[in-house]
Symmetry: C2
Subunit: 89 residues, 2 copies
């Protein structure tokens, strides 16, 4: 479910609260809009996050973890700890 280069990182960003498309793109650094859209759609279809469109000008789209998505915190936290204890050379 967390497969792919970006999926885990996207979930991590959303753990600290809802984010807009542009915020996610900036936080992830070098992800292309296509890839970000692909991954967000996949997570949405799996029920991990929701996509909310605000019909404004300019448009605003907010991504937010579902209850189920939020429960991934424990997994992400275990990964964080492992990464801190085993830094890459």
């Amino acid at each position: 479910m967390l497969d792919g280069k970006w999926t885990t990182l996207i979930v991590r960003e959303l753990l600290t609260g809802p984010k807009r498309f542009g915020e996610l793109r900036d936080a992830l650094g070098t992800v292309s809009p296509k890839t970000l859209t692909d991954r967000l759609r996949s997570l949405e279809h799996q029920g991990i996050l929701t996509r909310t469109v605000y019909a404004e000008v300019p448009p605003r789209v907010v991504y937010e973890l579902t209850e189920q998505g939020a429960t991934l915190t424990t997994v992400l936290h275990a990964m964080l700890e492992w990464g801190e204890r085993h830094p890459q050379p």
Copy 2:
């Protein structure tokens, strides 16, 4: 580091002790020998497991987690718990 369809499953199998190539292949079900080899080599190069060849006839090759690999238990355990709490429909 755990990227790919099989990597996490391979590590999981090795958490319960060293395994031979054939044991891993059988435990994983439908993995092709090429893919299994690829993933094992990748994990070996990352220092997660060791590959030991016994020069016998027939040959025997044993894969075993390193100390570093064994510390992945906490991550795998968090994943296991999540999976049990969120079964797929």
